[in-house]
Structures are given as structure tokens and as C-alpha cells.
Symmetry: C2
Subunit: 407 residues, 2 copies
Amino acid sequence: MALIVQKFGGTSVGNPQKIKAVAERVLSYSRQGHQMVVVLSAMSGETNRFVDLAHQMQVLPDPREMDVLLSSGEQVTVSLFAMAVKEAGFDAISMLGDQVKIVTDNMHTRARIKHIDSDGIKKELDAGKIVVVAGFQGVTESGDITTLGRGGSDTTAVALAAALKADQCEIFTDVEGVYTTDPNMCATAKKIDKITYDEMLELASLGAKVLDIRSVSFAKRYNVPLHVRSTFTDTEGTWVVEEDKSMESNPVSGVTYNKNEARITISKVPDTPGMATKIFNPISEQGIVVDMIIQNTRDGELTDMTFTVPRTDYTKTMSIMEKVAKEIGAEGVTGSKNIVKVSIVGVGMRNHTGIASTMFKVLSDEGINILMISTSEIKVSCVIDEKYTELAVRALHSAFGLDQEKA
Amino acid sequence: MALIVQKFGGTSVGNPQKIKAVAERVLSYSRQGHQMVVVLSAMSGETNRFVDLAHQMQVLPDPREMDVLLSSGEQVTVSLFAMAVKEAGFDAISMLGDQVKIVTDNMHTRARIKHIDSDGIKKELDAGKIVVVAGFQGVTESGDITTLGRGGSDTTAVALAAALKADQCEIFTDVEGVYTTDPNMCATAKKIDKITYDEMLELASLGAKVLDIRSVSFAKRYNVPLHVRSTFTDTEGTWVVEEDKSMESNPVSGVTYNKNEARITISKVPDTPGMATKIFNPISEQGIVVDMIIQNTRDGELTDMTFTVPRTDYTKTMSIMEKVAKEIGAEGVTGSKNIVKVSIVGVGMRNHTGIASTMFKVLSDEGINILMISTSEIKVSCVIDEKYTELAVRALHSAFGLDQEKA
């Protein structure tokens, strides 16, 4: 008998029929004697409907009230789900964020979990109930409702699994797991059976959308085995786990890309101390996150500074930089939104040499010019012209042996 | 500066435009310096939608989960309302039943309020905020969400007004107040300016739908001045208050009727002790509420027993009675669903003689046969054939001077 936490997203509980189907799936575990905690999102579409209503009320909806509004969505799915389980003859109880006591800080609409009181859930599990927890929501010490922001229900599930010391945490989604690369871009993409937390963190931060980075880092910190799998099939998905020896056979586990990138170059910057601060302070003050930074010494006392920002912040950043360039006496600012960051990720990289050079050669053999490079212990990222995205992804996927059937 | 509690029902907050309009109305009081507590229902239609969803899950939806589901409706309106107030430049905060701490018993879907913690609301009022409270909902001592059943938001408003020692409690509805009789039935019906709690209680229990009986009895117990008025106009409505001298000028304040009545007669019942128990126990065991009871001695040792039940329970009661009649050796059971109870109500009745006989004479002059009579200190009710409803109501309304313009 295991204690299992399962999370189902909005499309999995999008209407009464789907809720019943998910309830049946959960019940098949209960009937095997497992203790089940189910974390649910709001029905798909509800969050958008609420956001739309809020914007009809207030140009910039108040974050505290937004959380009261949004959290009502999961309240609907958990109560309906509990009813479905009871109709099937099994006992269940719904619990909201404040009923569990998922205590968060008071950063409304993007709160962080501080601690979870697992006693209430344990009591209900021991009483033989399926516990149905509203995902995405928490409560502050002073009793205000909060929500956890993007990927919030995944975070709820992983945090509950950690607090309950669950045997596993299953994230049900509309894909079959984590793939070696985007299957829509590369027909030979393969589902990964097992991946480490660190690799998953890199993939998530480099553009893979299947899991939110916060839930993965939570899982890593508390060593919660994560199973990402499909709501619509019974096949095993991808296990996200701690590294073990067997996992280093292939130096590269996956190829990913991120198109939400833009590149900006500020040229002929006087090479004096404090220049980087003068350039990047005004950007970070606007809440814009700079990703890669490269500095090329040009001639003697002048340098070119190149960096990337999210494409959605490109126009804003350009206008800030044009002002900055004048102030610091740089020659000018150029930029491009038509770039992509392509990355290879793998813990095996640590024990293999020449992985980065292989990547550069593969791209060069395809006639792709590398604009920027960034590396970490387990990843290499290259910024290239956006039009080469598919070509680069397919070539790298093949070159690192990811399109071969597993032995 | 007064502390005012205002309650708006589902049709008043049925869409974003209506919510904004109600917010403007409340703000007009705030701008005069009043402290405002606003109690809201769910948007009209939402409760039916939830009930429908619940029945798709479970034949008899679990009451605890039903309350979790239903209470999400007010959560939506209070948060949107608070946003609308904030957009208008005033401060506001929403509070759910468990945030206020409206503590109830654990009778889900029809819970009773045990006590209210008013400190939280007072703190927010003193901080200059409009406090927007979710109506209809409470929380048990152990933290489960409850709902208060029919008329629940009115009850929330009155209970809050009592707990806060508010100067007044205004119930906004889709009619202009309490009328001397149903304006749809009698064109000369007049809005009543002032009515006593006791009269309102009688009117509510005798068929008037404008206020729920629970909220009126709460208002009476805590002496909360109630103002029933229209959401859509600025005219004064009806004040429901403690009795004062001025109110006894007219012996009759209103004429009301209730068509949800059915009459059953069990004839030739042996007149021995314990017969009433044998007849009425099986009915009350089925949760059926008996209203009027009349016993006529027929000849010596046999009596006829006639009583009324809600028309919706008629068929069930008839089948119970046919069984009972056999058991006790009565002759048989007859009944009719085509009856109506017409009532006159007025505290002035206590100081006037002959009110009941006037009523009987008015009905008799119109050729209406009285089937049953019931009286209390401030009301007289007559059961008559349903087809005479309009005729009886209009004749009584006129006979007691209710269609005359006030001086």
C-alpha cells in the first residue's frame, strides 16, 4: 500500500464527464489499497473567464481580490469530484487551500508556499477517504486567500507529496511524458523514461513546457519521485528522479529551444568600470530579466555588449537602451527579435568531453551561424537565427543519438 | 455617520454592469461618511448551474460538498464587487463566511448561525474600507463550509447588522417594498411605509415572498431596523421595525394569500383519546408540516378531522391517511388541492373588535364559502375555494381601507 498524490489539470476536469472519468481512474488505485490524494485545477476556460470578468471591473485588478476570484474555480472541481467518488460508493472529502492549511507568503497571484499542515489530510486518509485538494491556492498566516501563479497546481501536488512523505507524485497532463525534443518539430522525438531533477530543471528553464520549474525544484529539494504521464492513456510516462549511475550512459538527454528571446547589442561602449551597472540597472528596474550576456573587446578602450531579453520585453528594452547609449557615450543600439536559443541538456555531459564542440560542429556543418553561446555543467545553449530552428533541433537530436530506439 | 448593512440579491449583481451600478450606489453612502457593509448573493443563475452540475455527479449530492460548491458563487461576486469599488477610488475588502467567522451548526445546506465574530469587519471599517461579505455562507467550528438555505443572504445581512449593532439593515430587492397585498392581483395595492416585525413575520409565513421569515425573526430578536427597498429606484421602501403607537391606527396592515395549500378530511373518526396522535404522527414522521387543524364533532362518538398540508405534499399525505383511516376505523378520506388560504394581518387588530366578523361578512357578501378559519392575536386566516382568490383579496383589501391614499 502506497501513499500517492495525483494531479490533474484543467483539461482533464473540463466537464462533468471528464471529472467522472478521472474519478474512476483514481478509484482504480484506491481499490488496490493505495491512499490517494488528488490535486485538481479549475475547469479549463474558467480561469480565463474570471480574468476577463476582473478586467471588466478594474483596469489593474486588485491582486488580493483576484486570488479570491480565481480560487473559486478549484472549489468547483474539488466538490464535484468528491461527489463523483461518493456516487461510485467510495468515501471522499474536498479540502481547500485554507482547510488543508497550505500557508504561503502574501505575494498575491504568485505566492510561495511557506509550510503545509499535513495532519488534516492524514486524518482523512486514515479514515479511508480519498482527499481531494484544490490546487493552485493557499492562505496567508492572517487568513487571506492566495494563489501560486503559473504551474501552481503542479507545485501544490509536489509540495503535498513532500509534506505527506508520499511514495510518488503523478502529474497527469495532455502529453505522454517528457520527450527528447518537441515531437511537433521532430518526428523521431522519443519519450524519456527517466530523467534527473537537474536535467528537468534545465529543460524547463530552457523552454520545455511540460512541467513548471517551481514544481521540479520543489521535487528535487524534497526528493519526491515525479511521474509525468498522460490522462488519456495507461502507459507509463516519464519519471523525474534523483540521479543514479544508469543515467549517464548518454551524454545528452534532450534538445530544447526557446523562441521567446530577443538580442540587443550596444556598440562601442567605453571600457571603464561601472559600465555594466549603468547598462543593466535600468533594465532590471523595469522588471525585465536579462538571460545571456556577452562582452566583446573591440579595439583598446571600446567594447560591444550583447545580451538577450524575453521577446515580449524587446521594444521596452530597446527604448531604455537608446537612452542609456546616449548617456554613456556608446555609438548606438541594434537588435533582433528573430533569434532562437537552442540547447542540449544531459547529466552525462559531465563525464564526456567534446560535447560542446560537437554541437558547434553540427550547427556549422548545416551552415548555421552561432550568435551567442552559454554553457553550464549539464547544458550548452546556442543562440542562432530563428529560421534555422527546425534544422538545428533535428540535426542535434540525430547527432547525439536521441532518435535511435532504446536498446 | 451611521453603520449601514446593505444586502443585494442575485439579480442585482447578475453581470459586471449591474455589479458596477450597485457599487456606485453603495459608494454614494460612503461618500456621505457612512460605514458600509455590503452582503451579496451569487450572480443570478449560478446557483441553478451548480445544482445542475452536482446532480450530474451524484443522484443525491453530498450536502457537505454541495456547500463547498454553492459557496463559490458568492466568492465570485464579492471579489468582483471589491474590485469595482477600488476602481472607483475607494478602498474595499471582500470577506467570505469563514473569514468573517460566521460560525454555524453543521446542518449542511440549511445551517443555522451560532455566532458571528464582528471584530475583523470592524477593524476593516475603521481602516476606511467598504467590507463586502459573501452572503448565504458560514463555517462550522471545525472549519467546514456551510450554507444557510433559502433566504440565506437576507439572514447573513440581518445577523451581521445585529452583531455589528448597525444603525440599519437595507435589503435591496426587485420590488419597491412590502405591499398591502400582491400588486399583481390587486391594482390598488399600496406600498407600506412601516410595518412591525410581528406583522412581517405573519405576512412572510402566510405567503408574502419579499422577505424570508428567518431574517425577520432575527431582526426582531436583535431589534435591527430593516429597510426593504428596490435596487432600481431611489424611493424609500418599507421599514420593518418595532411596534410604536402610530402604527395602530389601521387595524389591518395587509392582505395576503397562500396557494400552496391542500385540505384533507378524515371522516367519522372514533372520538377516543390518542386519535390525533395516530393521525398526525405518521405525517410528521415523513417531514410533512401540517398547518391548520379543525375537529368537528359529528354525532356522539364520531368526529371529522380536517387539516391542511403544503400542496406539494398532498399526494403523499393522502396515501398515508388512507392507510391510517383503515387502521383506526374511520369511514374514509377526502381532500382537495383547489383551496387557498387568505389572511388579514395587523397589530391594530388587538385594539379593535369585530375584525374577524368583518372579514367573514365581506367574504360571505361575495358569496364565498369559508372552509376553515384560523386566528392569532394579529391575523385572521380563512381557507376558501381557490377560484375565489382574486375576488376575496380585492374585497378584503378594499373593505379594510387599504386601497385609500394615505393622509
